[in-house]
Amino acid sequence: MSGALKEVRGRIKSVQSSQQITKAMKMVSAAKLRRAQDAITQMRPYAQKMQEVLSNILSNTEGSIGGDLATERAPEKVLLIVITSDRGLAGAYNSNVIKLAKQTIREHYAAQEAKGNVTIWSIGKKGFEHFAKNSYKVTDTYKDIFLNLTFENVQACAEAAVQAYRDHKFDVVEIVYSEFRNAATQAFLVSRFLPVPLAKPAVSNKNLKTDFIFEPSKEELIAELIPKILNTQLFKAVLDAHASEHGARMTAMDKASENANELLRNLKISYNRARQAAITTELTEIVSGAAALAG
């Protein structure tokens, strides 16, 4: 009987120590999430102003502009930039991103995939490991980007993609990532990176009528502006993914702690039941022993 007691006690201990780990991980993720969210808020004014400048220029120009980066080509060679996390234990976060990437390939680029013309660049170790193992064409990986998340590091990746596009190594570049909504929700999306969709803004902005001096010419300005907007777009995606990762991990760890609580409750009940049973047996033995002596 005491054997069963000891076993249950051991299990309670092990569940308790797992719970300590999940609780600690939740706290760490909460702190990191706050920092990641701050980074998003900090970059927002820059990104917005960038778009404004672009629409100012576009609304002051007639005809099509944008140069090679905005021209659609027949999509023969495709690049997917897949952003996952470096570490696991984040619930379904990584598998959702990977699933979406595969679905995109299946639904939109099946013909290119059959010819081996779909390439994957992976930001984040988890995605890299998965795609490399499942014999997708993974040529580049930026798996250490999250260790030191600076604009410069992300810029390197964006510029490499732009260069490869210019060299006609790819005709379409898409980013697969998770957009941060709030700590518990992520939206997994595929967003077009190249060619740049240059839409003319609707004429409602009050700034649009302003007669700007453009220096150098509008065409040169746009040629300068587009790569910068692309850098910003990828940086935003990476920041979003980073915040999503911590949000997902926080939720997952919160669930895990809750489950551990439930498990502990059940274990305590069976522990007490076993203890009570042991006491009852012992009492019965003593009583019947005494009765035998008296009899």
Binding site: Q42, P45, M50, Q155, P216, K228
Partner: protein, 89 residues
């Protein structure tokens, strides 16, 4: 006029200033109060904030390439990276 210096990582500077010197792609230029609306590309170089009319009170930044937009007496500098060089009063 108001000056804002924005980078993707944070807002570097915001406030009322007398003027600002910028490294334009075609050469250095200065923006003072009530400048006409303008969009210009900037190259890597030195950006000098003239905090008030006195010559001594300046802040220097070394910037990566970027843009400046001037509209309604508001100057917005968009650069991909910038470092404070020195501050003198």
């Amino acid at each position: 006029m108001t000056l804002e210096i924005l980078t993707p990582e944070r807002k570097l500077y915001g406030g009322q200033v007398y003027g600002v010197q910028l490294p334009g792609i075609d050469g250095l230029f200065e923006v003072l109060d009530r400048h006409a609306p303008m969009v210009s590309a900037l190259k890597k170089g030195n950006l000098k904030v003239l905090v008030d009319k006195g010559q001594g009170n300046t802040i220097n930044y070394s910037i990566e390439s970027g843009f400046v937009e001037i509209l309604h007496n508001k100057v917005t500098v968009l650069v991909e990276g910038a470092n404070l060089v020195d501050k003198s009063h």
